[in-house]
Amino acid sequence: MRLFRENRVVNWHEHVWLGPDGGLDRDRLRELVAIAKATHMDALVCSNPVMVPDSPPELARRCNDAVAEAAALHPGFIMGMGFVNPGFHDEAIAEVDRCILELGFAGVKLYNQYFISDPAVRGVIRRCAQLGAPILEHAGKLTHMPQSQPFLSDGAHFAKAASENPDATFIYAHIGGGGDWEWSLKAIAPHGNVFADTSGGGCDEGMIERAVELLGAGRLLFGTDMSFEAGVGKLLAADISWEDKKTILCNPRFEKYLERGPRHAD
């Protein structure tokens, strides 16, 4: 664990959740923070996505409020990613503004309501580009039961969105989240504005090495997505340089997004 103990570790893919009372689930937050601290993490970038097709704007807002509450409870340790459903165009744009400009979140989280390349998402992408906010999109190339997530974005969807929006910054979520990760890595490799996070329970031998080979460490971000042992273990195991591991653990190109903070009404 020396790698994690001795270096700054920013975990770009974690979650907080709503509890049974509809507010922030503080028990799960306590567990998350305890595990993250035990594994020597210095910052967690958390979102609270709604995983149903027609998630309404009011629910997205409540989820983002819970993220803001978690960030306020752990200032400097938890940072937010604001979730929106791009299908509700105007409300989604307004919520992006609220999350970035008022709540001081690091970026925006999209789930699988739409492919990232769908024209319905364009407005959100354009607004994120204007605000300098990276977009973390739930992703995967499922080879088994792809119909389980019919609008799950794979590498080709990211490649299209990246070509159409060269000034936007995309994060392909959880290369270890299941699916043919190599397929997607090859699809996004030519697009320098697409990054990938290393999270997910999948820990296929060679995954990190191949990701560094195809994207370079400078386009990778450390993450866990609730799979701490896999997230930590695959970085420890990877046959890449110490410097590349340090870059992935705290990607200098993304530090600027963590400097935003909530705007306080004075």
Partner: protein, 265 residues
């Protein structure tokens, strides 16, 4: 010493995997601090005649692994002619200490008469049998690969009809298996053991698995070289169990089950 009960050598057909030769695997295991690993030839899973894969394994490792690091496991398909002679040859001539079964890949039921006869023979020869639930995450499988994993419902009728064989269930949702198989496992002469390859060290799953499977029923298994070894090492480091239990999980349980030395001389 750390004993890895679930490793492979040989060519995996659906993905280029580093560390597939015995020499490469040895290096990988040594780098992770694994002292011994039980290895089968992954080709034996995919060849129509699994025994050809066992023969390859024997040709690669010879009569005695020079440093004792790689312990041979055989793969037997009881639906393929000659399996009795093949299994006996694997144990007596090749020195295999473990029998790995792949009923989904080879197309038979664990409670088929042939498989039950194989399990009885394994018990007679003091060879535990291992049931890997999956080789790779189902969401990424090649279109020519199988599209299901071994489930508790596949194992339960086997356990009810076979009392004596020691059984290791690997690389699956061990806690669900242990809960669902608790009834069938009760009162058997043979052990039912599990690895923790798919469990979390942080959510109280390991203590519950130990409670269900017994202190002697939990083993270390990494799936090397298909999977990184270190995620399992992280679990071992962080699991919320006492040092005695950890020592048993690291090596003592596997050593007792497989008849291996648990500690360096």
């Amino acid at each position: 010493m750390l004993i890895d009960t679930h490793a492979y050598v040989g060519h995996y057909p659906f993905r280029a995997v580093g560390g597939a030769t015995p020499a490469q695997l040895r290096e990988k295991l040594a780098r992770a601090g694994v002292g011994k690993a039980v290895v089968a030839n992954i080709g034996a899973v995919f060849y129509r005649n699994a025994m050809a894969g066992n023969e390859e394994l024997h040709s690669w490792l010879g009569d005695g692994d020079p440093d004792g690091m790689l312990v041979k496991a055989c793969v037997i398909n009881p639906a393929y002619p000659g399996w009795r002679e093949d299994f006996v040859r694997c144990v007596e001539a090749f020195g295999c200490r473990l029998l790995r079964l792949f009923p989904i890949y080879h197309g038979y039921r664990l409670d088929s008469p042939e498989c039950l006869e194989l399990a009885a023979l394994a018990e007679k020869l003091s060879v535990p049998l291992q049931l890997p639930c999956a080789l790779e995450n189902i969401r990424q499988r090649h279109r020519l690969d199988v599209d299901e994993n071994l489930a508790p419902a596949d194992v339960e009728p086997f356990l009810r009809k076979n009392s004596g064989a020691d059984v290791i269930i690997s690389n699956g949702p061990s806690l669900s298996f242990a809960r669902e198989l608790a009834g069938a496992a009760k009162g058997r002469r043979g052990k039912v053991c599990y690895d923790f390859a798919r469990l979390s060290a942080f959510r109280g799953e390991l203590p519950e698995l130990i409670e269900l499977a017994g202190a002697g029923g939990v083993l270390f298994g990494s799936m090397a070289p298909l999977q990184y070894i270190h995620p399992q090492l992280v679990k071992l480091a962080y699991m919320d169990v006492g040092e005695d239990a950890k020592a048993r999980i690291r090596s003592e349980n596997a050593a007792a089950l497989l008849g291996l030395a648990a500690r360096e001389e």
